[in-house]
Symmetry: C2
Subunit: 163 residues, 2 copies
C-alpha cells in the first residue's frame, strides 16, 4: 500500500516536472518581431513582468520537483514535503493567474482602458504563450492533485478522531 | 489545548472575513469618471475581467468563512474544512495575482505592448483599487496561515510515523 502511494506520487511529480519544464522552455524561447507603421517591435516574455514571474515560478517548481523525486525515498522529509507541496501549488496557481490575466489583455485588449490587443501583430508569439500557459495550468492541476492526495493520506488514518 | 486551537482558528477566520468583505466593498463601490480629449470614460471594476474575478473570488471566500465560523463547533466537518481551506487559499492567491497583474499595467503601463498607464487619469480609482488589493492580499496571507496551522495540527500527532 505504501509502495503504491509512492509510485503514484512519483508519477504525478514526473508529470508535473515535464509540464513545468515545457512551460519554461516554450516561454523563454519564444520571440517574434513585428512591423507596425514602420516601427519594429519585438515581443518577448521578459517585456512583461507577469510572464517573467511565470517563468521564475515554473523554474522554481521544476527544481523543487526534481529534488523531491530524488529525495522521495528518504521518508524522514515527508512532513516538510507536504507543506512545501502546498506552497508550490500556491506558487503555480499565482503565476498562472497573473500570466493568464495579461495574456487575456494581449488577446482581447481592454477597450475601457484603451489597451489594444497585440495578438494580431504577433500571432506566433501568442500561440506559443498559449501553449506555455496550458503546460503551466496542467502543472498547477497536477500539484493540486498531489496536495489532495497527500492530505487524504494524512487525514484518512485520523478518521473519526477529533483534531 | 483543543480550545486554544479553536479560538485561534476562529480569530484567524474573523480577520479573514473582515479582509475579504473590505476588499469586496471597496472594489465594488469604486468608480471614477475622467475626461480625456473630450471623451468621457468611466473606470469601474467590472470593465476588467480580472477585477470581476477578484470580486467573485473574495465574495465566495467571505461566504465560506462565515459558514466555517458558524459550523466550527461541529467537529465532524473538520476534515472537509481542512481540504476546503486549502481550496480557498488557492482561490484567494489566484484572484489576487490576476488582479495585481492588471493593476500593475494600469499603474505602470507596458510600453512594449503600447498599453498606457491609466492611473494619471483616474487617481482616486487607482488608490481605492490598491486598498482593495491590500485587503485581498491580507486575506490570502491569513488563509495561508490557517492552512499551515491546520496542517501542523494534523501532522504533529503523526511525528515519526511513516505515511
Amino acid at each position: 500500500m505504501a509502495k503504491t502511494k509512492r509510485v503514484i506520487t512519483i508519477l504525478l511529480r514526473l508529470l508535473a516536472l515535464g509540464a513545468t519544464v515545457a512551460a519554461v522552455v516554450v516561454m523563454v524561447t519564444t520571440h517574434e518581431t513585428a512591423n507596425v507603421l514602420n516601427l519594429t517591435f519585438k515581443a518577448k516574455y521578459d517585456n512583461t513582468p507577469s510572464f517573467k514571474y511565470f517563468v521564475i515560478a515554473e523554474a522554481i517548481v521544476s527544481c523543487y520537483t526534481l529534488i523531491a523525486i530524488i529525495l522521495s525515498s528518504k521518508s524522514l522529509l515527508w512532513r516538510l514535503m507536504v507543506i512545501l507541496d502546498v506552497f508550490m501549488a500556491a506558487l503555480l496557481t499565482s503565476s498562472i493567474s497573473a500570466a493568464l490575466a495579461i495574456a487575456y489583455v494581449g488577446k482581447k485588449g481592454n477597450s475601457h482602458a484603451g489597451w489594444l490587443p497585440i495578438c494580431g501583430q504577433v500571432p506566433k508569439f501568442c500561440d506559443k504563450v498559449t501553449g506555455s500557459l496550458i503546460a503551466g495550468f496542467a502543472a498547477a492541476i497536477i500539484y493540486m492533485l498531489l496536495c489532495l492526495y497527500s492530505l487524504h493520506a494524512v487525514l484518512s488514518p485520523l478518521l473519526g478522531v477529533k483534531p
